[in-house]
């Protein structure tokens, strides 16, 4: 019961945040493009809830990531105020918000992926740490491919905004490194907590 309430709370939070950010995005077309996948993900999660329920931490992590993405999409990533603030404080040459979200992508979503692999595929032992990381890196690479295709198809000026390379020729690689670092960090934490005796293998859950 407590879990159901929490999950409904997460859904309500995301719905509210999403609606507020959907009212006046910086660039409507870019916003739509960014939100296609996010909406598809939420719809899939809700639709498959009866057949496959993630653990509560997984839902929590996914909500945090989707919230970050909603904020990024609202401001077209390159113009997120928080990113400008970070840029000023750390004296960076660019708005680092999109890199931060790539990092968050690896850090926050590798845990749900691990849950899928363990519960659906019966992955065990060391594989249960390597495969999620590999999966996040693959998805990150796939995302860069999709970005490149979209940028080349869609009008070049929107492509540049959507892509958020911000003029860096190594942008794709740096984004993937960010996701990889996040995923490795999360897996290291899970490994350490598993060693400390925490049940991280979803055996007794759900």
């Amino acid at each position: 019961m407590k879990r159901t309430k929490l999950l409904l709370g997460l859904l309500a939070w995301y719905g509210l945040l999403w609606t507020v950010l959907a009212i006046a995005p910086r660039d409507r077309q870019d916003w739509l493009l960014e939100n296609l996948l996010a909406l598809a993900a939420v719809v899939t999660l809700v639709a498959t809830y009866r057949r496959f329920q993630f653990s509560t931490p997984s839902y929590l992590l996914m909500t945090v990531f989707l919230s970050l993405h909603a904020v990024g999409a609202h401001y077209t990533y390159a113009e997120v105020p928080f990113g400008f603030w970070l840029q000023e404080v750390f004296g960076l040459s660019r708005n680092p918000f999109d890199r931060l979200v790539h990092f968050a992508y690896g850090l926050l979503l590798v845990y749900p992926l691990r849950e899928i692999l363990i519960r659906l595929a019966g992955v065990r032992g060391l594989w249960s740490y390597y495969l999620p990381v590999s999966g996040m890196l693959a998805q990150s690479g796939f995302f860069e491919i999709v970005e490149a295709v979209v940028a080349q198809i869609v009008s070049p000026e929107l492509g540049a905004a959507y892509l958020g390379t911000q003029g860096d020729e190594w942008d794709a690689q740096k984004d993937m490194i960010a996701a990889l670092t996040g995923a490795c960090l999360c897996m290291a934490l899970v490994m350490l907590s598993a060693r400390a005796g925490w049940n991280g293998d979803f055996r007794s859950k759900v």
Binding site: L117, L120, A121, G122, V123, R124, W127, L131, V133, S134, G135, M136, L137, A138, Q139, S140, G141, F142, E144, I145, E147, A148, V149, Q152, E169, W170, A172, Q173, K174, M176, I177, L180
Partner: protein
């Protein structure tokens, strides 16, 4: 059977060592040759070290050797200068030497089966995941390779940027390389599925069908 396998493996190893010695004799760029030979060298050592405990099928060893051979030849000529690629560019006006892209494709196409076999042997995988995970792993490794490539380019020749070797000055090179590996992996998985599709055995079913 075992002796046959051993002979095949020894033959493959011999072929690879001879080929490597030839490329080591006078590579076009010694530094590039050194850097690019580290990972394949480690892979061969791992394969030699594990072939007793975790023997892969002969098909897998042949596929891996084919891929390593293509890579070794590419390294000999620093990829952008491989004669076969230059010839292809001449025969079909492509605008660039496509040899590296072909090897990226082969990375997916040739190594997906060994990876699938590794999963089959070490992780008890079921159903579609047995086909999805190898593709995912290939794409992940491909992304890792592009990351390493960018590190090397920035460390060794920071002034050249993306004109350094692999990219040949293309901003989308990394994405195209990863896409090539993905297509190769998908093709391999598609062929595997086609080969393993449940086939109705008419003669037997007729013979055993109750009348």
């Amino acid at each position: 059977m075992v002796t046959h396998n051993k002979r095949l493996l020894a033959g493959l190893l011999l072929w690879y060592v001879v080929l490597s010695l030839w490329t080591a004799y006078e590579p076009a760029d010694r530094q590039f040759w050194m850097l690019s030979s580290i990972l394949p060298g480690l892979l061969v050592l791992v394969l030699v070290g594990t072939h007793r405990y975790l023997p892969l099928s002969p098909a897998s060893y042949v596929l891996i050797t084919m891929f390593l051979s293509l890579h070794t030849i590419g390294v000999r000529y620093t990829y952008a200068g491989v004669p076969a690629g230059a010839w292809l560019e001449y025969a079909v006006p492509l605008g660039r030497n496509e040899y590296d892209r072909i090897v990226h494709f082969c990375f997916g196409f040739l190594l997906t089966y060994p990876i699938e076999e590794l999963f089959r042997l070490t992780v008890p995988l079921r159903g579609w995941l047995l086909y999805y995970l190898p593709v995912m792993t290939v794409l992940g490794l491909s992304g890792l390779w592009e990351i390493i490539e960018s590190w090397v380019a920035r460390m060794v020749h920071p002034e050249l940027g993306i004109t350094y070797l692999g990219s040949q000055g293309d901003v989308w090179d990394a994405q195209k390389d990863m896409a090539a590996a993905l297509y190769g992996a998908l093709l391999c998985v598609g062929l595997l599925l086609l080969y393993r599709r449940p086939r109705p055995r008419f003669s037997r079913s007729v013979a055993h069908s109750p009348r």
